[in-house]
């Protein structure tokens, strides 16, 4: 079967304006969008640049915009897409080359929420800390995040203000704030309650729709807000 892909191209070294290249290629039934990109790179134009690694939606490398919607391309079957397929880099991150975007700032935002367990009591020396299955469940739907950036890139609040921490960093914040082993809310209040923190979210739910892992950053943001209010009272 033949399919046609319209692929965003940009190379800062050539001085050429961003544009689209169209490739019509032979594909197999079971292929994903990533398989099609590989086919293009390997057999048509080796200079096409994009990130990829695990091929099954756990490494978070290959998020791109496919027909206007953010997807993990390695998990998006071609069969679910009609007609010509347009592949573009994630919106609102600076483009490095072709489908690769700069995510340095995205990872820096994560660092700002102190994404590590903060607990001032020394753990037991030769045992685990205890945590009930119910307490452990509180953070389900947060720690599974693969940091692909699909959510933050689709967030209108982030489009308006690139200083905003964005849904991925806030989801990560709740992964720790919500962890009953963590005592670090105090240290995170400053950033979470700031101008770039939780209040900037307009609960438009784009992030929920964009997440290839079906996670819900908005819900986490709402829970963080509640914790901040409780803290203030």
């Amino acid at each position: 079967m033949e399919r046609t892909l319209r692929v965003f191209r940009f190379n800062p070294e050539t001085g050429q304006e961003p544009h689209y290249d169209t490739f019509t290629i032979e594909v197999e039934d079971s292929w994903t969008v990533l398989d099609a990109l590989n086919e293009i790179k390997w057999h048509h134009d080796g200079s096409l640049s994009y990130r990829r690694s695990c091929r099954h939606g756990i490494c978070g490398s290959c998020a791109m915009m496919v027909n206007g919607k953010n997807e993990a391309t390695c998990e998006k079957p071609l069969s679910a897409l009609k007609g010509t397929i347009t592949v573009e880099p994630l919106k609102s991150f600076p483009v490095i080359k072709d489908l690769m975007v700069d995510q340095e700032d995205f990872f820096e935002k994560l660092r700002l929420v102190k994404p590590w367990l903060i607990n001032h009591k020394a753990p037991p020396t030769d045992k685990e800390r205890l945590q009930s299955p119910e307490d452990r469940k509180i953070i389900d739907g947060t720690w599974e995040c693969i940091l692909c950036g699909a959510c933050t890139s689709s967030c209108p609040a982030f489009w308006d203000n690139q200083g905003f921490l964005g849904p991925a960093a806030l989801l990560k914040a709740f992964r720790y704030v919500g962890d009953t082993r963590d005592e670090g809310l105090d240290e995170r209040v400053g950033i979470l309650d700031s101008k770039i923190g939780v209040w900037r979210c307009h609960t438009i739910f784009n992030c929920v729709e964009a997440c290839p892992k079906s996670l819900n950053p908005t819900a986490a943001i709402v829970k963080l807000r509640r914790r901040l209010i409780q803290e203030k009272l």
């Binding site: 070294e13 200079s47 690694s53 695990c54 091929r55 490494c59 978070g60 693969i146 940091l147």
Partner: protein
């Protein structure tokens, strides 16, 4: 074109940001100046794909002891593992698992609030008697949970990360490692990293097979870097084929699916494992199950006569599938359009885990010969290394454990070493020269259109490796594969790329990776041809049976130009004498 070189100096430089590399960096950071170089963002490392869990005899769900874990590991390795290393692995496992919990890993919990554990193939209680719940897990995303927690701890400790930097060349002087040369993938340009200690943690390398569970980044770069310094690799013929790869794709249906009680069935709907491992059935070790699946396929009992059998979870019920195996279900839905709650799913053996690798001693220091000579300043751990805890066959959940135990230990050993060495030894004048030549040559081929495409050579390599040296092997096929590898290495010199740019040139990187893959694939084929016995994952149909008299020994291989030189060294046996392996 003359490429720029930028110089950096650190006490410790770790190559690789999977569980092994990050654990090593975590232990040296905060104490000495530590950098991590990784060709992918740390959280994108393939450790994140580990699903089933991480083994330790915590005994949280039933009585367990490290001696039992050791017995299983020794027997699982088909007695080729070094028992001093295996003892270290299983004893440290307990403490390391607690430490990972303290670092924040979100393990599932028991009703008492302890780390939850589940059964896994090859792990038993009471010296091989009854199934053991030994695998500590976080749903079926355990590696992801561990990888992220370790990365976050390293960020906290202000490890200097060089993300999307590709290591090309080790810098050696008088047999000591003084650093390495890397390529900045995003901006282009050569970087020399001057270090007191270098730690290789570049992960697995089963990407040279067509059907594989490995990430596209798993191209064995660390191994090639070591071989190019005239250093040996160990036990390269031992590569594990996982029995349950998604049909035609190769990604993994986690062993947790069998751990939770999944059945394997053939075209007649029979649970065929009863013919191969009557007692342990689906929970027999991987090599045993892979051969069973392959035999069913070869003898025409694959589903509809094709090269697959079924894994069937329906009897586990919706609830259990959704809570314990959500990712496995998602995978089958996405890649095969099948829902495991209502349908069985087609699977086939897939190249999965590499037992061999860069030989190291118990301090993770790289070995330079088949005696005990070491390479000062050069360390390795994780899947790229061979210490050897897995011998001829690894048990599921023992490898993230190996990464954690030996990555951590390597960090501590480097710390000692660095503290004893106050200054950096001077670099040789031409430190970056070989890397410069390699890159400048490839860039100069761009647009010439007369050369060979790296993708074509890689496809040929992967197809022939799957054809000639997968689950079952024989002399004829192996000889064929040796020859193909020789030809491909020859043709590789004619590779021309399309992209001559410096910025985000992934065409260039794929060409370099191909060179690495061809080097170690050639070595695998040669080692496999030489070993005329069946042991663990290495199964020679023309040489039935394990042959302890001649082959209870490790292979050491040097790539010398177009030639592979082999030596052998004894296995360390302390506690458990070799017996027949029955399941």
């Amino acid at each position: 074109m003359k490429l720029d070189v930028t110089y950096h100096k650190h006490d410790v430089v770790v190559v690789g940001a999977g569980i092994a590399g990050l654990y090593a960096a975590l232990k040296t950071s905060g104490e000495v100046d530590t950098a991590v170089i990784s060709k992918v963002y740390p959280t994108r490392s393939h450790s994140g794909a580990a699903q089933g869990g991480c083994a330790a005899s915590l005994g949280n769900m039933m009585e367990d002891h490290w001696e039992w874990h050791m017995y299983d590991t020794v027997r699982g390795s088909d007695y080729l593992g070094d028992q001093d290393a295996q003892a270290l692995l299983v004893r440290d496992a307990v403490q390391v698992m607690y430490e990972m919990e303290h670092l924040g890993v979100p393990f599932d919990r028991t009703e008492e609030g302890r780390i939850a554990q589940r059964p896994f193939g090859g792990h038993f209680g009471n010296f091989g008697k009854s199934p053991m719940k030994r695998s500590c897990y976080a749903a079926d995303r355990t590696g992801h949970a561990q990888l992220h927690a370790l990365y976050e701890q390293c960020v906290k400790n202000e490890v200097r990360f060089y993300n999307e930097f590709y290591s090309l060349l080790l810098i050696m002087k008088g047999g000591t490692c003084l650093g390495l040369v890397a390529w900045d993938i995003i901006r282009g340009g050569l970087h020399v990293f001057h270090a007191k200690a270098v730690h290789l943690a570049t992960g697995g390398y089963a990407r040279c097979w067509k059907i594989t569970s490995n990430a596209m980044a798993n191209t064995g770069d660390g191994l090639a870097l070591v071989m190019r310094q005239g250093l040996p690799l160990e036990d390269m013929e031992f590569v594990q084929f996982h029995p349950t790869g998604v049909w035609k794709h190769g990604m993994l249906v986690s062993e947790a699916a069998r751990g939770e009680g999944g059945y394997l069935t053939n075209d007649k709907g029979e649970r065929f494992m009863k013919e191969y491992a009557k007692e342990k059935m689906e929970l027999a070790p991987r090599d045993v199950v892979s051969r069973a699946v392959q035999t069913e396929i070869n003898e025409g009992r694959g589903i509809g006569g094709q090269d697959c059998v079924h894994i069937d979870l329906r009897h586990l019920g919706k609830e259990k599938i959704l809570t314990r195996l959500p990712q496995v279900r998602e995978l089958a839905l996405k890649f095969l359009g099948r829902d495991m709650i209502t349908d069985p799913v087609p699977i086939q053996p897939t190249a999965h885990y590499s037992m061999g690798g860069i030989p190291v001693n118990l301090d993770t220091l790289v070995l330079g010969d088949s005696q005990k000579g070491t390479v000062p300043g050069l360390y390795a751990s994780g899947e790229c290394a061979c210490v050897s805890v897995h011998g001829a066959n690894r048990l599921g959940t023992n490898s993230t454990l190996e990464c954690a135990v030996f990555g951590r230990l390597g960090g501590l050993k480097m710390l000692d070493y660095v503290r004893q060495h106050s200054g950096h030894e001077d670099l040789p004048a031409d430190a970056a020269e070989m890397a410069r030549e390699e890159i400048e040559h490839l860039l100069s081929t761009a647009g010439t259109k007369s050369g060979v495409r790296s993708a074509d050579l890689r496809t040929r390599l992967q197809e022939t490796m799957s054809e000639n040296m997968a689950v079952y092997r024989n002399q004829g096929d192996l000889e064929k594969q040796v020859k193909i590898c020789q030809e491909l290495r020859e043709q590789c010199r004619q590779v021309a790329i399309d992209d001559g740019g410096l910025c985000a040139n992934t065409d260039l990187i794929e060409a370099v990776e191909l060179g690495h893959m061809l080097d170690y694939s050639y070595v695998i084929a040669r080692c496999a041809l030489e070993r005329t016995e069946c042991r663990g994952a290495h199964w020679r149909t023309d040489h039935p049976g394990r042959n302890d008299k001649e082959w209870l020994k490790h292979t050491m291989a040097w790539l010398e130009g177009d030639h592979v030189r082999l030596e052998y060294k004894p296995v360390v046996i302390t506690r458990f004498q070799p017996e027949e392996r029955k399941y």
